[in-house]
């Protein structure tokens, strides 16, 4: 201040000046606190995001390279379901600058699922965004892009691809639009497949895609030539319960599950319950052997006379007209004799035999699509006799597969599984039959194929054993004579069984090749034969004509007409 004469206000006293500085410093700190406060809010928010947000929950650094959903592979690592980046086409109706009517027409030409009028409605809706097509092909994206409208948006989103198309469709299921499993193993494994810790590595199923493909193609061929309405097939590892194939036809393509008819999504192998007919006879025999009803396989039963129970009569389709042994009963598939054995067993022991095989509960497998079995409500004498040869009780083909595995693997029941099992993961199972019974069943099942109704199931060198089952479908309280369910339940190689193979045809019609016959021996048995000769080599079962299960001790029990082989 150089002015000598100054108005009093222009000169501030040192004290005032000091006062002002103090105020300024106080407010400086106040501002600092404000900054610290807002920074603390930002820091807390980041901390919150780190702890609770979706992205942060994924943890590690490799996140971006992980698929949104883990792959599913078969037991050999073949991809069955993968995650890909698919194109989507969308529109921001509010941001369109071109002629809406013209764009609508061009969109309708490129994507005909909506009409031009519907597109125009979307374009004029004023909405922020709407998808027009998800999982669009790159060619379509290019074509829509060529319309040149900036309001049309293209983006990538993770999508599920089933590279094998319909292969194993009922096993895999499909995912919904949000990428969550909606059916099949996709649904069962949903949590595991989306778990960030696990989804980097593929999940292996028990399915062998080669076996599955062989089963599906043979079933499809038979279904077409026999004009069946459906078919199903199972290949089960008898030692572990792993399902190498689980096929149900008609199938759908899981890549576009929504576009297939509802009935194609029906899994006949696990949801469909059928009266499986004569395939139950070996189960009845094994149970009777365990129960001591059958003390010797040479035990003879009268097959000449029908069994009358109440107002029903139980007959054989091909009358035998004499008394027969147990192996003969299975070879000729005699209803009369099975009914007599069942009658001897009685309600309690028959029901116990079926319960031990899990026939009173839905199939033991991971799939959510499981049907409730039809378990007899009243175990009267007629029911007992009928269940002995697979009528009056309805189970799924998968039930039958696990039951046959139990018959031939030494007598241990294990639940079926679609997950690939390590050597130490195989369940111990529970013993249902003795080793001895199981050994006898192996002999007799083999005899059915070499000597009896299952001759057409033979695959040279693979020692197939099995049982036919032709059941009439229940209809209007009785049975429909022409609507058959033809099943062949088999296992191979019979000297050391490895796999159970089930083939079932729903309502096959006879054709010229089968001389018009639609029974299992002519329809389902050839499918098993073809499947076994296709999958045997793949599964490491060497065809060997010189090896077979030793049935010499049973041969004297089988009567043959002179001159017959």
């Amino acid at each position: 201040m150089t002015a000598l004469v100054a108005r009093p206000e222009r000169v501030r006293l040192a004290g005032q000046r000091h006062q002002a500085t103090v105020v300024t410093h106080q407010r400086l700190m106040l501002i600092m606190l404000l900054f610290l406060g807002v920074t603390a809010a930002v820091v807390l928010r980041i901390g919150y995001l780190a702890l609770f947000s979706d992205g942060a929950a994924r943890g590690g650094a490799a996140n971006a390279l992980l698929p949104a959903r883990g792959d599913i592979v078969d037991r050999n690592g073949q991809p069955l379901a993968r995650s890909i980046d698919a194109w989507t086409i969308g529109v921001h109706p509010a941001k369109i600058i071109g002629d809406r009517e013209e764009i609508a027409v061009r969109l309708a030409r490129l994507m005909p699922e909506r009409s031009a009028a519907e597109y125009l409605e979307i374009l004029t809706s004023g909405r922020t965004f709407q998808f027009l097509r998800r999982r669009a092909l790159p060619e379509l994206v290019a074509a829509v892009n060529a319309i040149g409208e900036p309001g049309l948006a293209f983006d990538r989103e993770p999508d599920r691809l089933y590279p094998q198309a319909g292969l194993g469709a009922h096993v895999l299921g499909w995912t919904d639009i949000d990428g969550h499993g909606a059916a099949g193993m996709e649904k069962v494994l949903d949590a595991a497949l989306t778990d960030p810790a696990r989804r980097g590595a593929p999940t292996a199923l028990a399915i062998d895609s080669r076996v599955q493909a062989a089963m599906e193609s043979e079933l499809a061929a038979a279904m077409t030539s026999l004009q069946a309405i459906g078919a199903t097939g199972v290949v089960l590892d008898v030692r572990t319960g792993e399902l190498l194939a689980l096929a149900s036809l008609p199938a759908y393509n899981p890549n576009a599950a929504g576009r297939f008819a509802l009935d194609t999504r029906f899994n006949r192998a696990t949801m469909g319950v059928y009266e499986l007919g004569s395939t139950f006879k070996p189960i009845t025999v094994a149970a009777a052997m365990e129960a001591g009803v059958i003390k010797s396989l040479g035990q003879r039963y009268d097959a000449a006379h029908a069994v009358a129970v109440g107002r029903f009569r139980i007959n054989d389709s091909h009358p035998i007209g004499r008394s027969i042994t147990i192996p003969e009963m299975l070879i000729h598939s005699s209803n009369i004799v099975t009914a007599r054995i069942s009658d001897q067993m009685g309600a309690e022991r028959m029901a116990h035999a079926f319960r031990q095989l899990g026939f009173d509960e839905p199939a033991h497998v991971e799939l959510p699509e499981k049907g409730r079995t039809l378990w007899p409500g009243d175990w009267g004498r007629a029911t007992i006799m009928n269940t002995g040869f697979g009528h009056g009780i309805a189970v799924t083909p998968l039930h039958l597969a696990t039951a046959y595995a139990t018959l031939v693997n030494g007598g241990v029941w294990r639940p079926a599984t679609l997950m690939k099992l390590g050597p130490d993961q195989v369940p111990r199972g529970r013993r249902v039959y003795s080793e001895e019974t199981s050994a006898r069943m192996r002999q007799m099942l083999r005899l059915i194929v070499t000597e009896g109704t299952g001759k057409k199931a033979e695959a040279p060198g693979y020692r197939v054993g099995g049982k036919t089952g032709t059941a009439e479908k229940p209809k209007d309280g009785g049975y429909a004579r022409k609507s058959l369910v033809s099943t062949f339940a088999a296992a191979f190689p019979m000297d050391d069984p490895r796999y159970v193979v089930i083939a079932m045809l729903d309502e096959p019609k006879g054709n010229a090749e089968t001389f018009g016959i639609a029974t299992a021996g002519w329809t389902a048995a050839p499918v098993v034969s073809k499947v076994v000769s296709r999958i045997g080599p793949l599964l490491g079962v060497l065809p060997d004509e010189r090896r077979d299960v030793d049935v010499s001790d049973l041969m004297p029990l089988i009567w043959k007409a002179k001159g017959a082989r």
């Binding site: 201040m1 108005r7 206000e9 222009r10 501030r12 000046r17 002002a20 500085t21 105020v23 300024t24 410093h25 407010r27 400086l28 700190m29 106040l30 501002i31 600092m32 900054f35 610290l36 807002v38 920074t39 809010a41 930002v42 820091v43 928010r45 980041i46 901390g47 995001l49 780190a50 947000s53 979706d54 992205g55 942060a56 929950a57 994924r58 943890g59 590690g60 650094a61 490799a62 996140n63 971006a64 390279l65 922020t128 965004f129 983006d155």
Partner: protein, 411 residues
């Protein structure tokens, strides 16, 4: 550092034979004095911020490149990074040069700059091209610049000068004058429209009035006025209505802010690693407004925390140092300049973590942008210039005085 040598201290009386260490205390060159007087901690913090910014732009550049490519225009993935590097080469010497200006000269430079920028700002709506529905730029081709960015530091210094005049003449109506200037600038900005910058100017004005010692009652009035202003903006200013609605009720087009948050958290705590980000490609303005989210995805939330810490460190460093300052002009200018950077950073981060509605604000020294980079460099240059001081002049009375010769108080 080499300037604190272990050699025995030689008395000034016998300079013969003494080796002058470059940038040592004995270095009497302009650069040597500059280095000795400057707030080196602040310089280091800013340097770290600039380095972080370059890495961040390198991360965001491919995303921005792919976003603005299309048809005939193909932008190379690192286009924005190289541009930013180029701007950096221009901006850093500007920062150092400005910081070397003596206080008087720096103040005059700022005052002239403020006048020029207000003029340019007034002309922008007529001369500037339209970008994203707003006129913010002036000039053509390579020489485009954003007057509002340059005005920020100049305005603050000018305001500090204006408010400090009160010290000399209590009768000057400095507050009404500053209010009129600020209102005029706000009017020009809203015509562009540039809501974000308006908020910064208004907030800095209030902060500086606060520091200049206006009464609490007046502050309260301003606070009420601010709330009224926001309500008025919400009611009558369509851009603000949409933004605030989007934030409060998740109404309308919240795609931007949602994808920003998704990007921010996509990398988790430790990030996907450089170049590993995928979400950033879905982000609008990945290299400017939402670069914080890109950093979050590639370098993790932990990097976001570190950046927030860096900004608050700069703010705290300057404000604490200003406690030693008694010159009202230097105090106001320093506090104003650092507040502008701090505010802009905080608002940008708050928008990215979705605790504030989106406003279109860049992250200082980290976001891509030539104008803003050079303007910020001028701002920090001025800040460094005004916080320069002879370390021996205002020594704390608590610093120990040893032996005979003066000892530098370590800062």
């Amino acid at each position: 550092m080499s300037f604190v040598g272990n050699q025995p201290r030689v008395s000034t009386a016998t300079p013969k034979g003494r080796e002058i260490v470059r940038l040592g205390r004995a270095d009497r060159s302009a650069l040597g004095r500059w280095f000795w007087e400057i707030d080196r901690v602040l310089l280091l913090l800013v340097a770290v911020l600039v380095a972080v910014g370059l890495v961040a732009v390198a991360a965001a550049s491919p995303a921005a490149g792919s976003r603005y490519s299309g048809g005939a225009v193909q932008i190379a993935p690192l286009h924005y990074f190289y541009r930013q590097l180029m701007w950096m080469v221009v901006a850093l010497p500007v920062m150092v040069g400005v910081s070397m200006l003596p206080h008087q000269l720096a103040r005059r430079f700022a005052l002239v700059g403020a006048g020029a920028c207000i003029l340019l700002l007034a002309l922008t709506p007529f001369l500037g091209p339209e970008v994203n529905g707003a006129h913010r730029w002036i000039g053509f081709g390579f020489a485009q610049l954003q007057p509002s960015e340059f005005l920020k530091p100049f305005y603050i210094v000018a305001l500090a000068w204006l408010l400090s005049l009160k010290e000399q003449d209590r009768t000057l109506p400095v507050v009404p004058i500053s209010a009129v200037v600020t209102a005029v600038i706000a009017l020009f900005l809203m015509r562009q429209p540039d809501f974000g910058s308006t908020v910064i100017f208004a907030a800095v004005w209030v902060l500086m009035l606060m520091l200049a010692g206006i009464s609490v009652r007046f502050l309260a009035l301003l606070g009420l006025g601010g709330i009224a202003g926001i309500v008025a903006a919400y009611l009558f200013y369509p851009v603000a209505t949409a933004r605030i609605d989007g934030f409060l009720f998740a109404q309308g087009d919240t795609y931007q802010t949602e994808s920003a948050l998704r990007t921010l958290t996509a990398g988790g705590v430790f990030g996907t690693g450089p170049g590993g980000g995928a979400r950033k490609f879905h982000l609008p303005e990945p290299h400017t407004d939402y670069i914080f989210s890109v950093i979050g995805e590639e370098f993790g939330l932990i990097a976001c925390l570190a950046i927030a810490m860096l900004y608050i460190a700069i703010v705290v460093r300057v404000l604490v140092k200003l406690l030693e300052e008694e010159n009202p002009f230097l105090l106001l200018a320093g506090a104003g300049l650092v507040s502008q950077i701090g505010l802009q950073a905080l608002i940008n981060m708050a928008v990215n973590v979705q605790i504030a509605p989106s406003k279109g604000m860049t992250l200082p020294f980290i976001s891509y942008g030539g104008s803003s980079m050079i303007a910020l460099s001028i701002g920090v240059g001025l800040l460094l210039a005004f916080t320069r001081r002879n370390p021996f002049l205002n020594r704390s009375p608590y610093a120990s005085r040893g032996g005979g010769g003066p000892k530098p108080a370590l800062r």
